[in-house]
Subunit: 352 residues, 2 copies
DNA sequence: TTCAGCTATGAAATCGATTCCATGGAATCG
DNA sequence: CGATTCCATGGAATCGATTTCATAGCTGAA
């Protein structure tokens, strides 16, 4: 039951609450004496200002919120860490919310933030439905509220919010070129959910990269996952059972890759010799894998910093340009020469 | 610039703000007509109650905060996910804060929470200094404030806060027994920072387990890390360069294990045959490693649920018992027969 | 000496909801 | 039928800070 209010401090210091407030908020219109008295009283009583009352009157909270789409995805926890450290350096407190790749949970968090009036929001947005980018009603309301916000990693269509994203087209083209050079011509793609713009971008980049390398994109080699490990595992089983079994697989994020690799390990599929794997997101687990997995990734701390900088610009009333980084392709030994499969599951036409 | 307040809603519905408030907060003392009118007006105007104002008056926020010690540690992100889902099921919003294994950042977060009056707190506490459990001044103030709180994973000495922890003594004894059975007698320990109670508990359990298996604990085989990857890497180099090179290593958390495994891979140390590795925390990366790493772990979703349940009890005014789970040892192929090292670094007495 | 200008200050309004209190009217009871 | 309870309601106080606004006390210029 704590009750130390600014009035208690004021009384203890023998001044009015107005003066106490001025001292505590650094207003220069205060005498050295009252300053000393109030500060002494405040520390002595252990005064903690009530943030509710303060921001109710002054509309400033000195906090931003970061909404990521999956805490357990190391990609996003790296991002969270980067954002948080950068904000901290600027004297801003960060709350992290988890949308769990779910539009409903995203909306709940947005509603909480809207009623709680944070100073700014950094969001990894989820779209609605199949068109991969329609903002939810709650999101529209959030935007309409005028709360400074910035999108990071993903975007939504038809919405004017500055964003910090990454383009993977070039890296993917390099990766596919490498695979093509190794003789692969049936390359499967385990993709992400329609509600994520990155999922769409990666799939399109994949198709474009195939064409650029003289390979025909085939719909039957696309598997639609949801960016989580379980769907990666499912994708792995789908690949293994595929009638025209692919010799290489590109996976659109790390959790799915991890799920898939677990299945292949169980099934005794040798990564590299039997199946080349290229995954998005350069995370520890993929590098730790044996053989290490080739990745398409980028610097998340850079991206986190850029997001905070952009948000600060928006909070200052400016309109920062959207920024786009470029991811890089790192070949590793999970990419190997295409060979006819000789496992028990072999079927269809074997390339001699 | 949003301005839809409860007064606007009341006016639109032709009632007073008191009635509007009653309707919106589900007070039964309202007529069907005003209920209908207010609800219609609220949705039509897109009314979002101001949480600041609400909780200023009613001291309830329907939010809890979870303070974890490292977002990037998969162990804690699993915990965060579990807590969040459980709280969500109970209609409670969760904010996540990151202490980054740093007492100062922990205190900043606590200060923000104290002034923001969350309904409850679930904390992975950091102690101060070498005695691994002294609460910081801010933490003491937090406790004194009477805010319902629960410790999870770690505890602080001399503080009466219900906690949900895990005991690893038995699992560690089993693990050491297995190592001893494989002929290991120089087992190193890469431990955690003094500010974490788990670090201390694990080191003590390690020493006890050695004794229980007839091995003498030697201080020179203890390496003090900080639960982060970089210190694990350092520990790995320390092991490799150790004058009396150990044949097995126990590592106190996953990030350090990952850091260490990276170094050993670089150095060409073969895990299993050359060096047996047993790590705490059963996370993907360790299972994905080749060979898979033996672990001591436990069910985090169970622990997260227990923490939320305990917190709800505290919030309801009860005093729940502290709960302690037991972790389990899972042997994997990273544990193998002790053999004399024949690598380039070999030195000291070789066992024939 | 007097008046404008400045500074430090306190009283009071304010932010937006909740909640206490009083009240008028309907329903119930003796 | 008169008295009592009950119910929905509006007015006003309240939460704890910030922020006007007015003022008293000083300083410095004319």
């Amino acid at each position: 039951m704590r009750a130390v209010t600014i009035k208690d401090v004021a009384k203890a210091a023998g001044v009015s609450s107005a003066t106490a407030s001025r001292v505590l908020s650094g207003n220069p219109a205060t005498s050295p004496e009252s300053r000393a008295g109030v500060e002494a009283a405040a520390t002595r009583l252990g005064f903690v200002p009530n943030a509710q009352a303060r921001s109710l009157r002054s509309t400033r909270t000195d906090t931003i919120a970061l909404l990521i789409s999956d805490v357990r995805n190391p990609y996003f926890s790296d991002l969270a860490h980067a954002v948080e450290q950068q904000a901290r350096a600027a004297g801003i407190m960060t709350f992290i919310g988890n949308a769990n790749e779910d539009s409903g949970q995203q909306d709940d968090f947005l509603a909480a933030m809207l009623s709680r009036r944070v100073d700014g929001l950094i969001i990894v947005p989820q779209g609605l439905g199949e068109d991969a980018g329609r903002p939810s009603e709650m999101m529209q309301r959030m935007i309409a509220s005028g709360t400074p916000m910035v999108f990071v990693d993903r975007t939504l269509a038809g919405v004017e919010v500055p964003s910090v994203t990454v383009s993977s087209a070039r890296a993917l083209e390099q990766g596919i070129a490498r695979l093509a050079g190794l003789g692969h011509c049936r390359i499967a793609f385990i993709g992400g959910p329609a509600h994520a713009s990155t999922a769409r971008e990666r799939r399109e980049a994949f198709d474009a990269a195939l064409e650029a390398n003289g390979l025909a994109p085939e719909a039957c080699l696309h598997f639609a996952g949801d960016f989580k490990a379980a769907s990666g595992a499912e994708g792995a089983r789908w690949v293994a059972a595929h009638p025209a079994r692919p010799t290489a697989v590109v996976i659109a994020d790390a959790p799915m890759a991890i799920g898939a690799l677990g299945v292949w390990r169980e099934a005794g599929v040798r990564i590299g010799p039997e199946l080349s794997v290229l995954s998005f997101d350069e995370v520890d687990t993929l590098l730790m894998h044996d053989p290490p997995i080739a990745t398409i990734g980028h610097d998340l701390s850079q991206m986190g910093r850029a997001a905070v900088t952009a948000l600060q610009a928006v909070m200052a009333g400016r309109q920062p340009e959207s920024e786009q980084f470029t991811s890089h392709f790192t070949p590793r030994s999970s990419l190997a020469t295409a060979r006819p499969i000789t496992s028990t599951m072999t079927q269809g036409s074997a390339t001699p």
